[in-house]
């Protein structure tokens, strides 16, 4: 067991972490907004945590708070992300579809370039030697795990609440949602902020986990990976993003023996899935379940 965790602990925690980032895309998507801004907020949250954990200015805080500085980092990363998401979201969410996606990619790039040039973020080198919360990599499951559980419960409850219904209405037909009394701007910004807060907190938790934080965290590539997680897993189901993240993030590991050929297989999986599974794996499973139920009902003499 000990050896297994030594070898696979890092991978397991990474899978949970990637699932969380996929979920951060899922929230705006549940309101019909294709935002690729998550890596930006992830990077931002990481910088907040890295700075609070290493900068001299925060030394007295660290001494006074002890381990409690970590939850404070998450909190502040969440708040900063919420604020920035609000400021960016209000103008950006006027854009629709692919234009919103492009604008959010631009946001991620701008943030990256800014962090690359600021002294406080360590410039091109970044921030390293970030103090650890746990002794082993595996230990981080104790923060990422509960966060994933909370996020899943959150999204399950959201789906069945007034605000969640407003999100879905906007996703289905924004104009009709407006005519039914729902303020589209308000709820689009809210969905965007929820995703940003999650990505920011995940970033803050990831800074000690990865030990160093620099401008390579939160790039365009990451945006595309997260999008792939959601599309492959299924963007209309609570479990979809997690399923996609686990599958796609572990695929390169599983295919490691194949060397460079694994990139080809990885790409092929993406193409095949997007052709044959329009609603992702979760959507396909759902349909399978429905048709099985129907067949069962007809055997029993139902409709």
């Amino acid at each position: 067991m000990e050896e297994f965790l030594q070898n696979y602990g890092f991978l397991l925690v990474t899978l949970v972490q990637q699932s969380l980032l996929a979920m951060s895309l899922y929230f705006p998507l549940s309101a019909g907004q294709l935002s690729l801004a998550s890596p930006g907020f992830y990077a931002l949250g990481g910088y907040v945590a890295a700075i609070m954990a290493t900068a001299d200015y925060f030394a007295p805080w660290r001494d006074a708070l002890g381990w409690a500085i970590f939850p404070l980092e998450w909190l502040i990363a969440g708040l900063v992300s919420a604020l920035l998401a609000f400021l960016v979201g209000v103008p950006a969410l006027r854009l629709r579809g692919i234009y919103l996606a492009l604008a959010t990619i631009a946001f991620v790039e701008i943030l990256r370039v800014v962090c690359l040039n600021l002294a406080i973020t360590g410039g091109a080198i970044g921030i390293f030697g970030i103090p650890q919360l746990f002794e082993s990599r595996w230990g981080y499951i104790w923060i990422f795990g509960p966060l994933l559980v909370i996020t899943l419960i959150f999204s399950y409850r959201l789906d069945r609440s007034r605000v969640g219904r407003a999100f879905k209405a906007i996703r289905e037909d924004e104009l009709a949602a407006g005519a039914m009394g729902i303020n589209p701007t308000h709820y689009k910004v809210l969905s965007f902020v929820i995703g940003a807060v999650l990505a920011g907190i995940v970033g803050a938790m990831s800074a000690p986990f990865l030990n160093t934080w620099n401008a390579r965290q939160g790039t365009f590539d990451a945006s595309i990976s997260y999008l792939a997680y959601v599309l492959i897993g299924g963007g209309r189901s609570l479990w979809g993003p997690m399923l996609g993240a686990v599958l796609l993030a572990s695929l390169p590991e599983l295919l490691r023996p194949l060397k460079d050929a694994r990139l080809i297989i990885n790409g092929m999986v993406l193409v095949i899935a997007s052709i044959y599974l329009p609603f992702g794996i979760a959507g396909a499973l759902q349909r399978l379940k429905l048709s099985t139920l129907k067949r069962y009902a007809s055997l029993r003499g139902g409709r």
């Binding site: 409850r157 609440s161 879905k168 037909d173 589209p184």
Partner: protein, 254 residues
């Protein structure tokens, strides 16, 4: 009887086309008001102006004395104006029940966190929303298919579900854009009775656009006739039928 809706010289141009041109009329509380006219006369555009989906070029529109022009659609809906769409715009991927739950939005207040943690208000509201959803689906005869997604419904059923969704908004005024389009003769027949029934049940004022002349004549208290964006007649069905300008407009259009 008091005036509930009042349009004053409402106008809207699309480029050089005057889709609605200085249209003025008043709708009385509780009446069923018909809006007819040849294709492209500007009827749907007029509905869009009234519900804020299309900004007006000029003119004003008031609801019980409150100025609606310039307000966003969700505010107008919140004040109590519900509508259906000529080209059905249901939340197609959601169940019938969810469709009628969604439009109870403005009558409820649960926020993000209240809903997540299941606050007392949110739980009470959920129960009430669910109950009212079922009640309205029963009223339109779709309760036995409440959990099916809207896209699976037939054309006539989708029209009824759209009316249900607008009713769940708890409106004072119901705007129906060609509710009988695509319905068979039997469905059209029962639609007349149904519109009267909900008007009485919920004390509604109904404005409806309809091409099917017998239905309009049999159902409406008063009728307004649009032609090329202009209002050419308003009056009782008998008056409008005899109006030379109306006869001219319809024969000319044929």
């Amino acid at each position: 009887m008091s005036v509930i809706l009042e349009a004053h010289r409402l106008s809207r141009s699309f480029g050089g086309l005057r889709a609605v041109n200085a249209v003025s009329f008043a709708v009385e509380e509780g009446e069923i008001f018909g809006l007819i006219g040849p294709n492209g006369a500007g009827k749907t555009t007029l509905f869009n102006l009234m519900t804020g989906l299309t900004p007006v070029s000029s003119g004003t529109f008031t609801f019980r004395g409150t100025q609606l022009t310039g307000l966003p659609p969700h505010r107008i809906a919140g004040l109590g104006i519900g509508r259906t769409f000529q080209n059905i715009r249901l939340f197609k991927g959601l169940s019938a029940l969810e469709n009628v739950k969604i439009s109870q939005h403005t009558r409820t207040v649960t926020g993000l966190f209240g809903g997540i943690i299941g606050s007392k208000t949110s739980r009470l509201e959920e129960i009430a929303v669910e109950e009212k959803g079922w009640e309205i689906l029963k009223l339109v005869g779709l309760a036995d298919r409440a959990t099916e997604i809207a896209a699976n419904f037939s054309y006539g059923e989708q029209r009824r579900l759209e009316i249900a969704r607008a009713l769940a908004l708890d409106p004072k005024v119901l705007l129906l854009d060609e509710p009988a389009a695509g319905m068979n003769a039997a469905e059209k027949q029962s639609l007349t009775a149904f519109i009267r029934e909900v008007r009485d049940l919920y004390n509604l004022t109904v404005v409806l656009i309809e091409h099917h002349v017998p239905l309009v004549m049999g159902l409406c208290d008063r009728i307004a006739v649009l032609n090329f964006g202009e209002l050419i007649a308003v009056g009782s069905p008998e008056e409008v039928q005899k109006n030379p300008a109306v006869i001219e407009a319809y024969l000319g259009a044929e």
